[in-house]
């Protein structure tokens, strides 16, 4: 079933929408959540919450691409769950590693411009990503959006792990420079 057909089911308030969504995107959604939460059960909980959120938000939203729409929801829910988990004060899988890497690109002495919002920042980062070569851009997104492990990226992109790490490090450094240039990182 196409995304458009599934979204139509949502608009018709047909509960088959969730079933079809699950059939098509369950594995993808679980992989995103599990990368962040390192727990199958928690990931499944997030997955179900994602369907509920989709059910509640479509309509009025009418996503063109259901995968990215759901991917953003589950990532948000998983991160929220991760932050709430007491266990994760001691780290929580691949997400912690990737977030730690991300935070490395912002020196401790820097701070965000006061009025910056995550929406604005997302726009700036998207623009930055468009300037990158394909591989660098995809590596960045797979690592920091999907929280894929270095080993998984190495396999997916056919690169040595050290090369993956090097490339990601360069991209992070470029991002930091870009954010400073844009005046959002002070």
């Amino acid at each position: 079933m196409t995304d458009e057909q599934i979204v139509s089911l949502y608009f018709e308030r047909n509960e088959d929408a969730i079933r079809q969504t699950k059939i098509k995107y369950s594995r993808y959604l679980l992989s995103v959540a599990q990368n962040i939460l390192s727990s199958r059960e928690d990931a499944e909980e997030c997955e179900n919450s994602t369907y509920l959120a989709a059910w509640n938000s479509i309509p009025p939203h009418k996503p063109k691409t259901l995968s990215t729409y759901l991917g953003k929801i589950i990532r948000h829910l998983a991160i929220k769950a991760k932050r709430a988990q007491k266990a994760n004060k001691r780290g929580g899988g691949e997400a912690s590693l990737s977030f730690d890497e991300l935070s490395e690109c912002i020196p401790a002495s820097f701070s965000w411009e006061d009025s910056i919002t995550d929406d604005t920042l997302a726009t700036i980062i998207s623009a930055f990503l468009r300037t990158l070569p394909d591989t660098e851009r995809r590596l960045f997104i797979c690592r920091y959006f999907h929280c894929d492990s270095i080993a998984a990226l190495s396999e997916t992109f056919g690169m040595k792990e050290s090369r993956v790490k090097t490339t990601l490090m360069r991209t992070r450094q470029k991002l930091a420079t870009h954010l400073v240039e844009k005046g959002v990182l002070l």
């Binding site: 993808y28 995968s67 991917g71 935070s103 920042l121 997104i141 959006f145 999907h146 090097t166 360069r170």
Partner: protein
């Protein structure tokens, strides 16, 4: 919202088309895998001639999963895609599948992994015995857990509920009393039949066949970090082949939590991974304290979490409590080389890593390798002369000994390396001891100076000239004291070495490079088209942005962490200048009558991440620069 959360959230909102593009690549892997597995499965099925109908028959189950709203009303029910879960045909391995015998000695309340080594009661467990035990244990799906005084004092105890561990089965394997009547030693094996799903920390632990262990009944007070570390060390050395991690954790009766050193873990944090758990033994020392040791086997335990736990234990070992030190300006035993004297208190966390104990006396574990880093310069220690065992009091657990070690800093160490002030004083900021096992695995590390607590360690310049050997034969006996001369800590990357060789890379020294405050600099000359250049410096217009996290250069066995890097891209080659820092001195080397010295070992190592956070660290790039077959630049002329 802090800045990290803002960034994380923003990443979550990047444009859809970018995500979609990345997803396309990301989804290629599962497809490839699926195709591979499909092909493999088909081939297997054909070979085994298994009727396909069997598989089809299994596809009838379609479990339904309710989607539940927050007020618990079911809004819909979805049917999961059909999956076939193969029956588990292989038996679970034992909880702690240790390739050898783990021996528990009640004389000193310690476990010893004592294959081929004597242990403290005077009984020598031979390698053959241990192997035989391990073999039998494996056959019985059991594990040797202890050596005890007699058959009644361990695990099967006198009516205490805590000891009633009925699911364990014991087998006397062998009597190894060794002629000590009062220390009849027996080895046991035990078998576990546990069910992880029933294992949940609550008021007590329900394990296996329903035995409930009330943790309240365990005596309070936990404080023997030495034991904890010893156990932590044991458990991290285990490497079960099935991908699980076996942990030995100490359970604190007071808070019902699991402890590893001073770090407390809630087992519930890891409940998803707990497959088996088993009470193994308690330690009851002087009737004042008690610990229980819990063997926990984690399936699919994320390696990064395990790494973190191991890292915690190493991090804790950096705690300098219980370790004091001083310098010996000129230590006679070491041919008047300077020495570092380190006193280790029994209560220190270092103790069990450094010593094995025989007859309640510490004996230095000679298999270890020591590296001492002083102000950024690494000295690999060849001579440790001698520990002094403080016998001025009775050495009991309540009144333990302290031990002094003297480390030979070797002929390359010189007080002249440090900038003493007008009062002839210099304050050391960075002295670190790293201890490696025979496989070069970092097992223990401590910073002797905690700059958050003090300004550093102030040393008075020796009033009379001390005479470390002034003439050092670069290939003679003097320098052999430094192990680094022989083999660097890290294995070179043969691929990178090959690439460097093919690319005809060169190096030379700058005696005093103005950009680095006139420090000496190592200059790499790299072909811009070379693979190494492409790999390390993709952006040649701004190579500074492409460097790894830490660069190190090992020159004649001494490691210098590079303090600064600069680049010159104006010529046909890329010149990389590496600041060797203020600790590098040309006076270390003995130039010949022509004022020349030939460097025999100059190597380069690069880490792409902060290696200090790694329990074992290896270079991401490593290249031996000195190789007469390919390189020039080995011979250096003494600066005027």
């Amino acid at each position: 919202m802090n800045k990290n959360e803002l960034l994380e959230n923003a990443i979550g909102k990047i444009d859809d088309d970018l995500l979609l593009d990345a997803e396309t690549v990301r989804n290629q892997k599962p497809r490839r895998r699926f195709a591979f597995f499909l092909a493999a499965a088909c081939l297997t099925l054909m070979l085994l001639a298994i009727p396909i109908g069997i598989l089809i028959g299994n596809r009838n189950e379609t479990p339904e999963v309710p989607i539940i709203t927050t007020n618990n009303t079911v809004i819909t029910t979805v049917t999961l895609p059909t999956t076939t879960i193969p029956p588990q045909t292989t038996a679970r391995p034992s909880v702690l599948d240790i390739p050898g015998a783990m021996l528990f000695d009640e004389n000193d309340n310690r476990f010893n992994l004592s294959v081929g080594k004597p242990y403290s009661s005077g009984v020598i467990i031979t390698d053959a015995q241990a192997r035989d035990w391990a073999k039998r244990v494996k056959q019985e799906n059991s594990v040797v857990i202890g050596l005890v005084k007699d058959s009644t004092s361990v695990l099967v105890a006198e009516g205490d509920e805590y000891y009633r561990i009925t699911y364990m089965e014991f087998t006397v394997l062998e009597d190894v009393s060794g002629g000590h009547e009062e220390t009849v030693t027996v080895a046991y094996a035990c078998r576990y039949q546990l069910n992880a799903s029933k294992y949940r920390p609550a008021s007590g632990y329900t394990i296996g066949n329903g035995t409930n262990i009330q943790t309240d009944e365990i005596v309070e007070n936990v404080g023997f970090t030495n034991d904890m570390f010893h156990l932590a060390k044991l458990c991290t050395e285990m490497n079960p082949k099935d991908g699980s991690a076996a942990l030995l954790l100490l359970q604190d009766a007071k808070d019902k939590k699991l402890n590893l050193g001073n770090i407390t873990y809630e087992l519930s944090d890891y409940a998803d991974y707990v497959m088996d758990a088993c009470l193994i033994h308690n330690i009851n020392r002087n009737h004042a304290t008690s610990l229980s040791i819990l063997g926990v086997r984690m399936l699919n335990f994320p390696t990064d979490m395990l790494r973190e736990i191991i890292h915690d234990s190493i991090w804790l070992r950096r705690d300098p409590d219980g370790v004091s030190f001083s310098f010996e300006d000129s230590y006679e035993t070491f041919d008047n080389h300077p020495a570092l004297s380190v006193t280790v208190d029994y209560q220190s966390i270092f103790y069990n890593d450094i010593f094995i104990v025989e007859d309640n006396k510490p004996k230095l574990n000679q298999t270890n390798k020591w590296v001492i880093t002083i102000e950024g310069v690494r000295y690999e220690i060849e001579n440790i002369w001698h520990y002094k065992y403080h016998l001025n009091h009775e050495t009991t657990y309540a009144n333990p000994p302290s031990v002094a070690l003297y480390f030979d800093l070797g002929p390359n160490f010189s007080w002249s390396l440090f900038d003493y002030d007008e009062n002839d004083e210099y304050t050391f900021k960075d002295i670190r001891i790293d201890l490696y096992d025979e496989n070069n695995k970092l097992i223990c590390s401590t910073n002797l100076i905690d700059t958050s607590e003090c300004d550093g360690y102030t040393h008075k310049k020796p009033s009379t000239p001390v005479t470390p050997p002034e003439t050092i034969d670069p290939v003679g006996k003097g320098i052999d004291i430094l192990r680094g001369k022989e083999t660097p800590t890290h294995e070179p990357d043969p691929q990178l070495m090959t690439l460097l060789a093919m690319d005809n890379a060169f190096f030379r020294f700058e005696n005093a490079y103005t950009e680095f405050n006139n420090h000496a600099a190592l200059v790499l000359s790299l072909n811009k088209e070379s693979v190494i250049t492409e790999d390390l410096f993709l952006d040649l217009d701004d190579p500074q942005t492409n460097i790894g996290y830490v660069w190190e250069v090992i020159i004649e066995g001494i490691t210098y962490e590079i303090e600064g890097i600069s680049f010159d891209n104006t010529s046909s080659e890329l010149l990389v200048y590496l600041d060797l820092g203020h600790n590098f001195s040309w006076s270390r080397y003995s130039y010949n009558e022509n004022g020349e010295y030939t460097f025999e070992e100059v190597t380069l190592g690069i880490y792409l991440s902060d290696y200090h956070s790694q329990p074992t660290y290896t270079y991401d790039y490593f290249a031996k620069l000195t190789d007469d077959e390919f390189y020039g630049g080995n011979t250096h002329t003494k600066p005027n």
